[in-house]
């Protein structure tokens, strides 16, 4: 087991290098750089000064070739854990993204959990009573959630909440807590603001989860060991929960890792519409303004999360499903 984890972690190194290279390449793809963006910003504000730009260009090293810039970034990251510098905010990236990433992780995790909490029981029930009215309703509702673009749903819900309750449902915090240090009240405030993002983000994921869970449980229900458990005289609910559901859950554990980038991507548009202080909008801004180290670091860190998520789900899987360990040894 430990050997396995160590090996997996060793695998991280080449993967991370590749990920960082790709991240860096992505942000370098668009023509121009941060300074062209700055130029046009300055132009719009009427204080364009070519000399400023020229000085900055030299300072930021934009005139150097791609690999040199990448090398410097990597080296700073490896040597000092320094993610680079945000041109736009004029601060080191690391000091900027901490809270955003934390909130992203919180929202993503909460979404994941909420989706599971909703989808799993429904999926199980649909499997136990396939082709019932409930099954059809759950399926159709789930699919509608999946089919509706997140940003559209977010906007409509936001308007609806405002129009009917006059409520402000945007953001993750009320204005009075936005800058407040973390406290119990702030956490409560966060929870109170979380439901809308959860609905928007959750609906898109729930459908697939329900379908998968339903299919998995249906599959498992056909297996002889379920019949064997019944033959043991166990009550039906115990039969279902103890056996097929346990087994059907495994595929889900394995999707933790891969659902992170998916959730995150869905969250970008939602976060923009709902004004959530999450990584998505920040990343979008960074990409648009070509704030390359900021953007690169976001992409890089998200990929790292994904990789860690995959690792965690693999480890969980080996812990939960004894068969996997067997195949491993």
């Amino acid at each position: 087991m430990t050997g396995y984890i160590v090996r997996r972690i060793l695998w991280f190194i080449p993967t991370l290098l590749a990920v960082s290279l790709v991240s860096f390449a992505i942000i370098q793809l668009p023509p121009g750089d941060y300074l062209t963006v700055l130029e046009s910003q300055m132009g719009a504000e009427g204080d364009y000064n070519p000399e400023v730009v020229a000085r900055l260009r030299e300072r930021f090293g934009f005139d150097q070739p791609f690999m040199v810039q990448y090398g410097k970034w990597m080296w700073a990251m490896l040597a000092h854990g320094d993610l680079g510098y945000s041109f736009e905010w004029r601060v080191p990236v690391s000091s900027l993204i901490g809270e955003y990433l934390a909130l992203t992780v919180i929202v993503t995790a909460a979404t994941l959990i909420a989706t599971w909490l909703i989808a799993l029981p429904i999926g199980i029930y649909s499997a136990v009573r396939p082709y019932s009215i409930f099954d059809y309703i759950a399926t159709i509702l789930g699919f509608i959630g999946k089919a509706t673009p997140n940003f559209l749903l977010a906007l409509v819900l936001m308007w609806w909440a405002f129009d009917t309750f006059g409520a402000d449902v945007s953001g993750l915090f009320s204005p009075e807590y936005a800058n407040a240090p973390w406290s119990w009240a702030k956490v409560r405030d966060l929870i109170a603001h979380m439901w809308l993002p959860l609905i928007v983000l959750g609906t898109s994921g729930a459908a697939s989860l329900i379908r998968q869970m339903r299919a998995n449980v249906l599959d498992e229900l056909q297996k002889p060991y379920v019949e064997a458990a019944r033959a043991q005289g166990l009550p039906e609910w115990k039969v279902i929960l103890r056996y097929p559901v346990r087994v059907a859950l495994n595929p889900f554990l394995s999707t933790i890792g891969s659902s992170i980038p998916e959730l995150f991507s869905g969250a970008v548009t939602t976060a923009i519409v709902l004004n959530l202080p999450m990584a998505g909008p920040m990343l979008l801004r960074a990409l648009v303004s070509q704030d390359m180290y900021l953007a690169g670091s976001f992409i890089f860190l998200l990929s790292v999360f994904t990789l860690i998520g995959t690792l965690i789900s693999d480890i969980l899987l080996t812990l939960v499903d004894p068969r996997i360990r067997f195949e491993e040894s």
Partner: protein, 376 residues
């Protein structure tokens, strides 16, 4: 056995000689939602292909007198309560002096009968077939006469016509994107699954890598790299390429999995014993076996592409007006102003939902049908 044979019914013979495709179709037909979806998808494509004809107006026709007009109802009862030929009423717009909002009132006296195959301003189908008839319209070609079944946008353009035209891009972006993904996915996935070894390792690692990157930033990065202001067609193509850069990984996985599984199948070994060359084994024995699976998973990835297009447009990274796609139309509708005052501009969203739903159900049905020999 001979008498058993002679007793056989025609139906049994048909079953016995039914190919996998036929069996699959029979199985597919049992999935009612999928069948309905198939019709819906078919209808949508029909509308998209003949958008000019089915649209009551040109999608770019500006109606200065009908800016942000609400959907017009079709009446079958006239002002005096009598049943009449279906008709629409003239709309009269007025700007609110304070809020400057345009309000429209219907004039029950001034009505225009609705006609199918109505004459219209000349237009060109697909840009080269001149026509003067549209599927639906009002018969009196008069300044006040209008039939905006889904209202108009901020330039008085007919939303319905725009949805039909937008369908062209939105529906084909899925197909083209999926086709591209399919080509890349099948080649790489096939190589990976068939050759195994280091080829497999490289392809697998690449897929892992691509899948560990969050999609939207990847799109954003790539979309930002598309030189803007190209010919819309070029932009369109670039966007599909971008979408399929992610899309192929999923398909490659499926293909690889199928190849790996099939490689172990006895019938593939049997084909080898029958002296079939590797090429023939792949093309004649393996590909037909997973083609249906692939089609099913392709169908399921089309809606993803359609949604992706809308998301990209929403982020301002997709197509730009004057091109029309559902994403572009939805981008227009992304404001509280629209939701509160012209909610009909959200109808393209409904089109997206219906299409994506239909594709999902269709894919579901195809997936069930893709294994015609499996459990019923």
């Amino acid at each position: 056995m001979s008498n058993a044979l002679s007793h056989e019914s025609a139906a049994l013979k048909a079953y016995a000689e039914a190919s996998g495709w036929r069996l699959g179709w029979a199985k597919f037909r049992r999935h009612k939602l999928a069948v309905v979806s198939l019709y819906i998808v078919g209808l949508l494509y029909l509308l998209a292909i003949f958008a000019e004809f089915f649209s009551p107006y040109d999608y770019s026709d500006i109606n200065r007198r009908h800016v942000l007009a609400p959907p017009q109802a079709v009446y079958v009862v006239d002002a005096s309560g009598q049943f009449t030929w279906p008709h629409v009423r003239a709309l009269k717009g007025q700007r609110d002096p304070v809020t400057r909002r345009l309000n429209y009132i219907e004039d029950p006296e001034n009505t225009f009968p609705v006609r199918l195959f109505a004459p219209s301003k000349p237009y060109k189908m697909w840009g080269f077939i001149p026509l003067e008839t549209r599927f639906i319209g009002v018969s009196t070609p008069n300044r006040q006469a209008s039939i905006f079944l889904l209202g108009t946008d901020s330039l008085g353009r007919d939303v319905l016509s725009r949805i039909f035209h937008g369908a062209r891009i939105s529906l084909s972006i899925g197909l083209v994107g999926v086709a591209l993904s399919f080509v890349i996915g099948i080649i790489l996935g096939g190589m990976s699954g068939y050759f195994g070894g280091w080829v497999d390792t490289i392809v697998q690692r690449t897929i892992d890598l691509l899948q560990s990157l969050p999609t939207i930033p990847l799109w954003m990065g790539l979309a930002a790299a598309v030189p803007p202001g190209q010919d819309p067609l070029v932009t369109y193509f670039m966007i599909t390429v971008i979408l399929s850069i992610i899309g192929w990984t999923g398909i490659a996985r499926v293909v690889r999995g199928r190849f790996l599984a099939l490689r172990e199948e006895d019938f593939v070994l049997a084909a080898r014993f029958s002296g079939a060359s590797e090429m023939r084994i792949i093309l004649r024995h393996m590909v037909p076996s997973f083609a249906s699976h692939i089609i099913a998973s392709l169908t399921l990835s089309i809606p993803e592409m359609i949604l992706a297009e809308t998301a990209l447009s929403f982020l301002g990274l997709g197509l730009q007006p004057p091109a029309v796609s559902w994403g572009v139309l939805l981008k227009d509708a992304q404001s509280l102003q629209v939701i509160s005052q012209a909610p009909w501009l959200l109808v393209p969203g409904l089109a997206v939902v219906i299409t994506v739903l239909a594709f999902n159900f269709l894919g579901d049905g195809l997936r069930d049908a893709s294994d015609p020999y499996g459990k019923v």
